[in-house]
Amino acid sequence: MDIKIPDSTLRKYLDTQATPEKIAEALTLCGPSVDRLHRLADDYVYDIEAITNRVDTASAFGVAREAAAILPLFGIKAKLINSPYNIKPNALPERRGGKLPLEVIIKDENLIPHFAAIVLDKLTVKDSPKEIKDQLELSGVRPLNNLIDITNYLTLCFGQPVHIFDYDKILGQQLILRESRAGEKLITLDGKTHQLRGGDIVIEDGGGRLIDLCGIMGGKLSEIDEGTKRTVLFVQTYNPKKIRRTSLYTQERTLAAQIFEKQPDSRLVIPTLIEGVNLLVKHASAVVAGDSIDYYFQKPIPKTIKLDLKQLNRLIGYDFQSKTTSTILTNLGFSVKKFSTDLLEVEVPTWRLHDIAIPEDLAEEIARVYGYFRLESKLPITANLSVTSDPLLDWEYQTKKYLSDLGFTEIFNYSLVSKELFERALMAQDHSVILTNPLSNEFEYMRSSLIPSLLMDLEKNQGKLDLPIRIFELSNIYSPKEHPTLTIATQGLDYRHAKGYLEALLQSLHLSNISFVPLTKDSNPWQKNQTAEIYSDKHFVGIYGAINPTIKTSFGLTDNVYLANLDFKVISELANTNYTYTPISDYPDMIEDITIQSNQSIGKILQLIKQESKLITKVIYRTSLINKHTFTIHFNDSKKNLTQNEVNKIKESLLKRSQKE
C-alpha cells in the first residue's frame, strides 16, 4: 500500500530537528521505506510504502511514531507529539439544542468489533481551509468540500477511515447494520451499481434501502451534498475478511477497504470521532445534536511475549543487551513488564496486536530499529552436504550448449499459450491445464507440446533473415505433470543435414544403439512418410521428421521444415559419460567400396553390413541409384595384416546375404 505524507502533516506529530532527507533515509533503513522524497516550494512529500502487516504505519501519526523510535539511533533527538491516544473523552463538545434521534441496530456483533457514531447539526457545506486542502492535495486526495475533506484528513493523520452520512437522507432515522443477501443491489458514491453476492457488510435505513457498503464506500442514497445541514459522523472497524472479500469482487479497492482489511487499531475509533467532531465544529460550524453512540464488541486482548536474549542474538548474529533491547521496544510503544539480563517480558501495543505474536517478531523490531546496515557480513560455515543435484539439470545445460555450438539459437517461449495456436498446428491441447483466471486468450493454457510455439517462431522470423534457420527450445510441457522436452526445428536444410545435427547431439550424449523406425500411424503435426520414431536400444526417445504440408501452410512456412521432438527426461536418464577406451589397431585398414542392390531401407542394409563380420570396423554410406546403394567399408584385424583374400571372402558373403534378405 503506497501512501503520500506531506512533511508538514508529519511534523504535527513529530518534534525533531531532523531534515526531511535524514528522516527519509532513516525510515528507509529502519522502518517503512520512503520510495521517494519530493521537494516542493514550501513543503516536502514522502512516498511511503506501508507494508501489508503494518497498517499502523499508513498515516502521518503512524510514520511519526516510527521516526520517533528510529531517529535517536542516528543521534538525532525526536519526540512523538499530539498522539490521538491522548485524546480524552471529555474533549468531545457537549450537545447543544434539541436531540436528533438515531436508532442503531446491529444484527451481528461479529461484523463490527467497534462501532461509533454521532449526530451533528447546523453544518455549512463549503470549501475547506487552505491548510487542509493543501495537505490533502499533497497526499494525492482531491479536495471536495469541508465535510468530505475532514473525513479524508482524519484518515491521512490517523490511518482510521471515517464516513459521513446526510442525516436527512436516512429514512426513519434508523441504521440497521447487517450482512447483505445475495442479489441485493447498492449504488456506491462513484455511481457504480453493485449486485451483491451476500455476506457483505451493509447498512439499511428505516426505509429498507441500502445506504452504505460498509468499510468500502458509502451509498449514493445518503451522500453529502451542497445543501446538507445535518449529518451522522461514522467511525468503526470491521471484520477484515468480509471487507477484503467484498472489496475484491466488487473491484472497489478503496483506501478505506485496504486499511480495514488489515485490522487497524480499534482503540483509535473514539479519538478519531472526537477529533472529527472538533474539526467539523471548527470548519463547518457543526454542533453536537445527539449522544455519541459507542458499541465496543471486541476489545483488544492484551498480549505478552517472553523474549529470550540468547535466542534473539542467535537469530540476529549480534550481542544485544537487555537495556538496548528494552529502549528500542519502549520507543516503539511496547511496555516492558519484566526485565533481566537474559529475558524480557513485553506487552504488545494495541496497534501491533495482529502483527506481533512470537519472539521472532520482536527480534525483527529490535534488529531493524538498531539498523540492519550495522550488522556484519559473514559467509556461513556448514557441514558438507550428502545430496547432489539432479543430473537432468546438467544434461540440460550441456545439451543447450552443444546445440548452440552447432549453430542453433535457443528460444524461450511462454509456457502459456492460446487455444488458437494449437488449432493452427492441428494439435490437441491438454484440457487439464487450462487456467481458471487467465490474463487473456493469448495466455490461457499451459502448453502440452513445444511444437506449436516453435512453428510460430519460424513463422514470425520468416523473411527476416537468410535460411537456413536452426532453433531449439528445451522446456517443460504440462499434461498436467511437468515433462522436460527438447524440440529442435530447422528450416531450409535438407533431410540428411537436419538429421545429422540430431545424430551428432545423440552421439555427444552417448546414447547407445540409436535407430530410426518409420512412423506407422498418422499423427499431427508429422508428415507420416518422412517421419521416424527414434529409439536408443528399446527406449523411445522421440520423433524426427517433416511437418505435414497442411500445417506448414497454416503457418505460411516455405522451404523444408524438419522437427525433432525429444523426451528429455528419457534422454537425461540414458545419457552418460561412461567412455570405453578402444586401442588403435597397429595394422592399417583395408578400405573398399561396395555396391549392394537391395529393396531394404538404408538403415537395414547398414545393420546388415555391420553384423557381417567383426573385422568390419567402419561403414560410410556414400550414395544411391534407385535400389543400388554404395558404401565405403573399413576392414581391420587388430592382430595382423588382413589379406585381400580375407576381405574378398567377407564381401562375397555380404553380397550373398543382401540378396537373400
Binding site: 502487516n53 521472532e360 546496515f373 557480513s377 556448514t382 557441514a383 511462454y414 533473415l465 504440462y478 498436467p480
Partner: protein, 335 residues
C-alpha cells in the same frame, strides 16, 4: 656417368613444379625406398655394385641437392608472394544460448562455489506448497502481491520458487540444507517490468546457528560476483509471511555508483537515491520450518527469492523486461 639420364629426368621434372607436395611426390619416385635410383642399383650384379658404388652415392647426393634447391626456391617464392590477410574467414554456423540460460548458468555456478545445490521443483503445485504451508492463509491480504494463476481451486502456477522450500525440507529432512532452486514462475501481470512467466532463483540455507549476518554475507558474495566487486548490498525492513524478520535487499546502482547523482549533480533516474531493489529475503519463519518438519528450536535459516530477468535487466540496463522474451532471431542472435 652412371645414372646421368635419371639426373637429367629429375632436373626436367622438377623445373616445372611449384608446390611442395608435388615436389615430395617426385622425390619419392626418384629417391624413395622403391625409387628409380634404388631400383636401378638393385638390378646390378655384385661386381658392378662394387665398381659403381661410389658413383651411385655421389649421383644420389646430386639428386638430393637438386630437390633441396627446388624446395628452397618454392619456399622463398611463397614467402615473397603477396597475400591478402584481411580476406574474411568462412564461418561455421554460429548458434546462441538464450540470455536466461546464460544467467541461470552464471547464478548456479556462483552459488555452487559456496556449496549450494541446484534444484528444481514443480511449476504447477498445490496451494499448500505455494502459499498455505508458507504461512499465507487463504483470504490473507498478502495473497494480493502474488497475483496467482489458478488451474483449480487447489492447484496453482507457482508465483514464486518458494514452493521449493517445504519440498526441500521434506527431501533432505535433517539440515544442513543448502539449496538454490531455479525455475519458472508465473504471475498475472504484464507491463514493462513484468512478464506473466519469469524465472526466480531461491536460496535456502538451514542449519544450526544461522543468523542475519549470514544472509548479508551470502547476499554480498552473490552481488559482488554477479554484478561486480564494487557493488554493495543493504537490507531494508519488509514483510513476507514466510520469513521473520523479512527484508528487501537493495544493491548500489550501477549507473550512479550509489550516489543517487549523475553528471552535473542531476538525479539518477534509474534508482531510488543510489539503490536498486534486488528482491526479498528473510529468516525462515518458525511456522514454515514446522510445516517442513524441522525443529525451529534447534535450527534456523534464511531464504531469498530473486528474479533471473530482474538481475539480467539490472546488469544490462534493459528498459523493458518483455524484450527478454522476444522470439526475433535478429535480436536473439546478438547474445
Amino acid at each position: 656417368m652412371y645414372l646421368e639420364n635419371e639426373i637429367k629426368n629429375l632436373v626436367k621434372k622438377v623445373a616445372s613444379l611449384d608446390s611442395l607436395s608435388d615436389l615430395e611426390k617426385v622425390e619419392t619416385e626418384c629417391l624413395g625406398r622403391n625409387g628409380v635410383f634404388n631400383l636401378k642399383f638393385d638390378q646390378l650384379d655384385k661386381l658392378d655394385k662394387a665398381r659403381l658404388g661410389k658413383e651411385f652415392n655421389s649421383q644420389k647426393q646430386r639428386a638430393v641437392q637438386i630437390v633441396e634447391e627446388k624446395r628452397n626456391e618454392i619456399n622463398q617464392k611463397s614467402e615473397r608472394e603477396s597475400f591478402d590477410v584481411t580476406i574474411p574467414g568462412i564461418l561455421p554456423p554460429i548458434g546462441h544460448l538464450h540470455l536466461i540460460t546464460q544467467a541461470i548458468k552464471e547464478i548456479s555456478d556462483i552459488f555452487s562455489k559456496i556449496g549450494f545445490i541446484r534444484r528444481r521443483y514443480p511449476e504447477i503445485d498445490t496451494d499448500w506448497y505455494a502459499a498455505e504451508g508458507l504461512n499465507i492463509p487463504k483470504d490473507h491480504p498478502a495473497r494480493d502481491d502474488q497475483e496467482t494463476f489458478y488451474i483449480s481451486e487447489n492447484t496453482v502456477l507457482t508465483p514464486h520458487t518458494s514452493n521449493g522450500q517445504l519440498r526441500e525440507m521434506e527431501t533432505i529432512k535433517t539440515p544442513p540444507i543448502k539449496m538454490i532452486n531455479i525455475g519458472k514462475t508465473y504471475r498475472r501481470q504484464i507491463d514493462v517490468s513484468h512478464t506473466p512467466m519469469f524465472h526466480q532463483f531461491e536460496g535456502l540455507l538451514i542449519d544450526k546457528n544461522i543468523n542475519i549476518t549470514h544472509l548479508i554475507g551470502v547476499g554480498d558474495y552473490f552481488v559482488k560476483n554477479y554484478f561486480g566487486k564494487d557493488r554493495r548490498v543493504r537490507l531494508r525492513p519488509h514483510h513476507f509471511q514466510f520469513t521473520e524478520p523479512s527484508f528487501e535487499i537493495d544493491i548500489t546502482c550501477g549507473i550512479c555508483a550509489g550516489s543517487g547523482r549523475i553528471k552535473n549533480d542531476e538525479k539518477c533516474r534509474l534508482c531510488k537515491s543510489g539503490w536498486v531493489e534486488l528482491g526479498g529475503a528473510g529468516m525462515v519463519h518458525p511456522n514454515v520450518l514446522k510445516n517442513g518438519g524441522i525443529d525451529s528450536k534447534k535450527y534456523s535459516g534464511f531464504a531469498f527469492g530473486w528474479g533471473v530477468e530482474r538481475v539480467l535487466s539490472m546488469k544490462y540496463n534493459l528498459p523493458d523486461i518483455r524484450n527478454i522474451y522476444t522470439t526475433d532471431l535478429r535480436i536473439l542472435n546478438q547474445f
